[in-house]
């Protein structure tokens, strides 16, 4: 039996994307549909065992934000502010007339300004304390990205960052919906941002064995569910969604892109970085998200998988999807194109899931040449598939065993 708050529809009235697939929602989405992978050698990582990543192409913060704003922001905040501007413009909300005190910000971020930290640490070691920027702390602290979004648009309501590693963006959106349902605010700016592609952090991920080593062909390295997958490709990006109660959105004549209908969360309580191979906790997150949506597995037509392209994630997740949905849902992982943007990934993928519902299409999983024979799923590959469906699920699972699942429905 569902509880009285189940199925609460949080209307998505604004979208913004800054991803390795492009700057802007439509350019990113077109490249995702075309399955054009974005992995490439990264000059900043030259000489390291893993010397490639998925960066936002052609992102020039000075040009888009102005130098006077850009120099004060960590790259994660720069990406987030640009995505925010697109999302707010898309929403049609007027910041000059809204009640800013009723506008909340809930953003996912995993690693804060670690690249800034790394550069400043080098300054301290090589040139002493007087060479360390006074902006080190405000650029590094993981909460700052939400603070900067509030400053950018005058959002004076509750303001926080959710940190659940690779699930952060999905946790943020689920938490944002809860906040809206509670009545504490009327609008929530939510999503995720991450820009942690520094030499130290990439080396850390490499030492854990989490990253693909396909240095000879970075563009083919992120290959979720493929038999030859060997790890994820680290990425950067930001996604912003504007959420409102559906009655408010309709009353002001806003365009509703989609609806966040359910949210489920769980913890593996198993190991720091290895997912519980039984998949019990991730399954619980999916089932509780469906309950929260007031829906059942048979209602779901499409799953945007966490699908990182690591051996263990994809195997564990495939088992869970099989158990809950059987083989009748069209599964994709958009990480094949964009890599894994960590704390932003769940939000980027929520946007992709909304666009999939809007267009009645499931994007292909880039680089999926040979489905892992142990995976018994209908994973979309090679070309987009027309799937008229009204309900989709987006999975996000983080290191630390933190899991967040969203149920998205068409307006």
């Amino acid at each position: 039996m569902s509880w009285p708050g189940a199925g609460f529809p949080a209307a998505v009235t604004g979208l913004g994307l800054v991803t390795p697939a492009g700057i802007g929602v439509e350019p990113s989405w077109r490249r995702v549909l075309a399955a054009e992978a974005a992995g490439s050698h990264d000059p900043l990582l030259a000489g390291l065992p893993v010397d490639f990543s998925c960066r936002v192409p052609g992102f020039d913060p000075d040009a888009v934000l102005g130098r006077s704003a850009a120099w004060r922001l960590d790259r994660s905040a720069q990406l987030a502010v640009v995505a925010l501007r697109e999302a707010l413009h898309d929403s049609g909300l007027d910041q000059s007339t809204w009640d800013g005190a009723r506008v909340a910000v809930v953003l996912g971020n995993a690693l804060g300004g670690v690249h800034t930290y790394e550069l400043q640490q080098r300054q301290l070691d090589s040139a002493g304390p007087s060479a360390v920027s006074p902006l080190l702390v405000p650029m590094c602290a993981p909460n700052m990205v939400a603070g900067h979004l509030a400053m950018e648009c005058g959002a004076g309501g509750p303001n926080l960052v959710t940190a659940t590693a690779c699930a952060s963006g999905a946790t943020a959106i689920g938490t944002a919906r809860d906040l809206l349902r509670s009545g504490r605010c009327d609008v929530v700016i939510t999503g995720g941002a991450e820009a942690a592609l520094g030499r130290t952090m990439i080396t850390g991920f490499t030492r854990m064995g989490a990253l693909s080593r396909r240095t000879s062909d970075p563009n083919a390295a992120s290959r979720p569910f493929d038999a030859d997958r060997d790890g994820f490709v680290a990425a950067e990006g930001a996604a912003i969604l504007v959420l409102e109660r559906i009655a408010d959105a309709r009353a002001r004549g806003a365009r509703v892109h989609g609806v966040i209908r359910g949210y489920g969360a769980s913890a593996d309580a198993h190991h720091a970085t290895t997912p519980d191979p039984s998949g019990a906790a991730v399954e619980r997150a999916v089932r509780s998200a469906l309950d929260d949506a007031g829906l059942v597995a048979a209602d779901v037509g499409h799953v945007n998988a966490h699908g990182t392209s690591t051996k263990i994630n994809d195997a564990t997740e495939a088992g869970l999807i099989q158990r809950v949905f059987g083989d009748r849902v069209a599964v994709t992982s958009t990480k094949g194109v964009m890599g894994h943007a960590l704390g932003a990934a769940g939000a980027i993928e929520a946007v992709c899931t909304i666009l999939a519902l809007r267009d009645g299409v499931v994007p292909p999983t880039a680089n999926l040449d040979t489905l892992d024979p142990k995976i018994e799923l209908d994973v979309v590959a090679k070309a987009p598939r027309l799937v008229p469906h009204g309900v989709a699920v987006s999975n996000s699972f983080g290191f630390g065993g933190q899991n967040a699942v969203l149920v998205v429905t068409a307006p």
Binding site: R67, A69, W71, S130, V132, S133, P134, L135, P138
Partner: protein
Amino acid sequence: MSNNDTLDRLTKLLVLHFGASEQRVNGEITFEELDFDSLALVELAMVAQKEFGVEVDEQEITPDQSVQSVAELIDARAVTA
């Protein structure tokens, strides 16, 4: 008096590093008028030190100072250095 070269280089630093408006920066304008907060002034001491190779203490640059007076401070340090 600072020499014009120092003022020009400082002006360029304010525009390129801090994004100050090229139209607004001149010798007479103060850092307060350029919207420099306390963090930006510390950052200025840091980058000026690197650009000019002189010691500038972060407490030496205050919001009410003009660009010209900081150029003079840099020149004075360069002479004694």
